[in-house]
Subunit: 201 residues, 2 copies
Amino acid sequence: MCVVSLIPIRPGFEPERRDAARNRELLLRAARELIEECGADGLTMGTLAQRAGVGKGTVFRRFGSRAGLMMSLLSDAEAEFQGRFMFGPPPLGPGAPPLERLIAFGEERIAWVLEFGELARAADVSAYNRFDVPAAVLWHRHLEMLLREAGVTADPWLMATSLSAVLEPERILHAVGVHHIAPERLAASWRELVSRVVRGA
Amino acid sequence: MCVVSLIPIRPGFEPERRDAARNRELLLRAARELIEECGADGLTMGTLAQRAGVGKGTVFRRFGSRAGLMMSLLSDAEAEFQGRFMFGPPPLGPGAPPLERLIAFGEERIAWVLEFGELARAADVSAYNRFDVPAAVLWHRHLEMLLREAGVTADPWLMATSLSAVLEPERILHAVGVHHIAPERLAASWRELVSRVVRGA
DNA sequence: GATCAAAACGGACTGCGGTCCGCTTCTATT
DNA sequence: AATAGAAGCGGACCGCAGTCCGTTTTGATC
């Protein structure tokens, strides 16, 4: 299964040195523990270094930034989601009509955000180009392709951008957490939106 | 003209003390200068305090946070925009059919973001409840009302949320700045989107 | 003008993300 | 086993947003 990583692949593919690999595992384990205890927002890079028994510099060498760390923690969940919408069974995967796939994509994404959203929000933070992260580019292309297949000829690229905006973790979590919108209501609204976009074609 | 402020009104309406008012003016003037010189992202609260000749604590007492400061700087532009879509001439203001008002709202908002976007982005930063800022609530209600008038019966509240997401400064600036999308193309896509949402009713 | 409480002030302080650079550890080579 | 240089390490350090609290200013009251 060919999956697009959240994290840029290091050029050259040299394997990690043994100590580096060991520290990466230590850090990921410690990070999961800390998030369990304090929540994603409660994790600080200093505490993480301390808990893992390494220097702070090592944390940043491994993950580049706090957002990068969160992406690493998400990468399994992300890869699984990618696998499902690209190769899994219909209606999310290939085989169903495009409108149904669009609907399924949003529904599943909403469910995904509700499960991993706190991490996703922490990973989003910052970065002027948070929309150009490999995974985000992939969803965008997927939506664009489905829109084309569905016969939407009016600027599918920007339409996909608009639909992506609707599925942004921050907004979904805000609607559910602050305004107490039921997830099924979100899903119904997504269905409605995407149906109108496609049918209006 | 009754306008909704970006900043919570202080309860009780006691007037500011004279020194407080003086410092507020000093700070706003200094902030505009600094942004002129270094851009909104280049403004730091420490530098601002120094330039205005006041203590750092004073800056935070006045504006609460960096985002609060940016909102204060935006508030004139925001008020002007509010005035136009609530009381101004059609098609943005009342008098035109709802679909045309929706289209105009997006077009004008896109233009607005391209003019004041850097500030708006700086004002957005952080805050779990950045969607509950008075101005954002007002746009949301406006969109919701127009959708209802246009006969959209399917969850206008969430539809308005989705449309708001599409107009978010961060995304618009990213599309224009990074992907070199022409503003007219953004406007055309918005027209298309909103027409489909309404016509599908 | 003297008095006084409340409001505002200012800058030292905290905690954070992120960088830097001299030191240590690993691994390929002989 | 010795060696060398690359990769990795770690923690002091920086700049920033935001807080705290002792001091100063203000303006209502007498």
